[in-house]
Amino acid sequence: MNGSQNDATSLTDVLAHWASEQPNARAYVFLKERGGEDASLTFSQLQARADAFAARISQRAQPGERAILLFQPGLDFIVAFIGCLKARVIAVPLMVPRRTSERDSSAAILADCAPRLLIANDALRESRPDVSERFRDTSFEWLLTDGATDVQAQASKPARTTRRDDIAFLQYTSGSTSTPKGVMVTHGSLIGNLEMIRRALGSTPGSTHVGWIPLYHDMGLVLNALHSLHVGANCVLMAPSGFMQRPLSWLRAISDYRAVEAGAPNFAFDLCVNRFRQEHAEGLDLSTWKVAYNAAEPVRADTLDRFATTFAPYGFERSALHPLYGLAEATLLVSGRREIRAPLTRTVSRVALKRHELSAPTSDDDRYTLVGCGLAVSGEELAIVNPQTRLALGACCIGEIWVNGPNVAKGYWQNADATRDTFQAVIEGRDGTWLRTGDLGFLDEDGRLFVTGRIKDIIIIRGNNHYPQDIENTANNSHPALRRDCGTAFAAVDDSDNEILVVVHELERTQRNRFDADEIIGAIREAVVNEHEIAIGEVVLVRPGALPKTTSGKVQRSLTRLLWQQKNLDVQFDDAATHHAAGS
């Protein structure tokens, strides 16, 4: 029954298949924040609107040119995205810049991909006039999706058909604010990974999906929106802000629509438990929910336990919990093949894990439970590699996770050096080129992947990646009492095993005896949240010269992190320390 999907070159072939097989079935529903449906599209309506919109795109852009997609949550994004695929114009989904952020990555992304079009809708233009102002120096044409249905779709276009190697979209989740890297996802890698996802999750046209992850995020785009389209299922979407305000509205939608699949980053499962109120859950039925996937940030065993326990009375089955591992550089999914069992966990020594070794815990305090992220998806190879020697490691040895398969993207847009380093790595004594994920982990005796850490310098908060050099740059300029270029930022784990951002900065020599710590720390916190939408876990101010530096004067980030962990920094003021001193 999926023959036409297996032969498909592009997702547009798959849409054509469903539009003819089940024209009146609903492909997408968008929910209002306070309940009820805001909009919906059947497969045939989506096909017609995307055709009409593709004709408008083709009048303005050549195949291979780029179009930025800038949308608030809603179904117009889907029409625009499919329209781009049909017109063979490369889609570039972009987060709507926050008003408070003066220097986010959007300007650098526009400069990097040089778009011909910026596709948006009336709602965005009206509610966010500042966006036009922000992008005034970039030359592109605005194209609005509104009224697309009024334009007659042109008769079948004679343009050459899509090739598997053509780029479908650029995913800018990697690289810092100043040097963003756009992952080139081809039509072939997209359709290849969607087929892997279908098999891994066992999805059918009856696998109704409920999601709230933003569509500019790789997980929201590929795993919610495009995966559902690929398998011919109904995808019910809601705004991320609606979920954050009322987490149970996500579960309510799963119950109302008898959904089979829904997932989110780990924090969302914690949020559902923390905000659970019995009186709000009356009549909730989660018994249809068979695939509750958890991805995009480290999966925690205690989160899964708490969630399963809290929602068991509402029909939720623990075996539905489904940890996944993936990244944009592999289109999305790398591991998480479905098994009819609860997720596999493994309890190891916390201390040994910090040295990247596996061993049995030596005491109760030393126990740390890792959650397995399943088997490699079918058609793909995983290897665990020593990043220094480039030798493959055996089962249960921790090393960098490397991937080889048709889902691996083509590289970074116009960045040959980074493409070579990340996408074309070679394992000593083995054929082929591999994708380096920058994540650390091991494969157990049965080939199940466990992710244990990372070697790439990123900070993951609520499923979003942040780059330390961006945070450092912002902190550096936030207050005159801070010594220029003498600070650093890194990810750490707090007492409850949550990932937090720590900022350490030296004070100016002239300032250190008469500074107002509250004012400086407030300035750092305010600048970082305004620019990066990230709440700092801990700010540490140190005396001038206290941070370890290279011979060229650069602060050594990982050594600073180690000194901080060992409490060996010469601290002048630590806001966490004062909490404890003054608060408890």
Partner: protein, 93 residues
């Protein structure tokens, strides 16, 4: 000294207590005149704060209210003025 009625003062106290607990700071370090961004609150923390305040008062405030009234003092004054009954009831809680 500002002139605060009981309801406004009570809302202020609720806000500073909530923020102190969330940010793990002693309540005395939450300056009611400081902007929310000063505490490094991201949008998720702001949403949770607002939802908790709405639950406590039993009213709906709207998502822009912290943008329009960006300090504890301004927010308390606004809320007390807009929902005098809920605020008075809260003062008695």
């Amino acid at each position: 000294m500002e002139n605060l009625d009981a309801a406004e003062l009570n809302i202020r106290r609720w806000c500073t207590d909530y923020l102190a607990e969330t940010l793990k700071l002693p309540p005395g370090r939450i300056d009611p005149q400081a902007k929310f961004a000063r505490f490094g609150m991201d949008s998720a923390m702001s949403v949770f704060f607002l939802v908790a305040l709405e639950d406590w008062l039993g009213v709906e405030l709207g998502s822009d209210v912290m943008f329009d009234h960006p300090t504890v003092a301004e927010l308390a004054r606004h809320v007390a003025g807009r929902f005098p009954q809920a605020a008075a009831a809260a003062a008695g809680k």
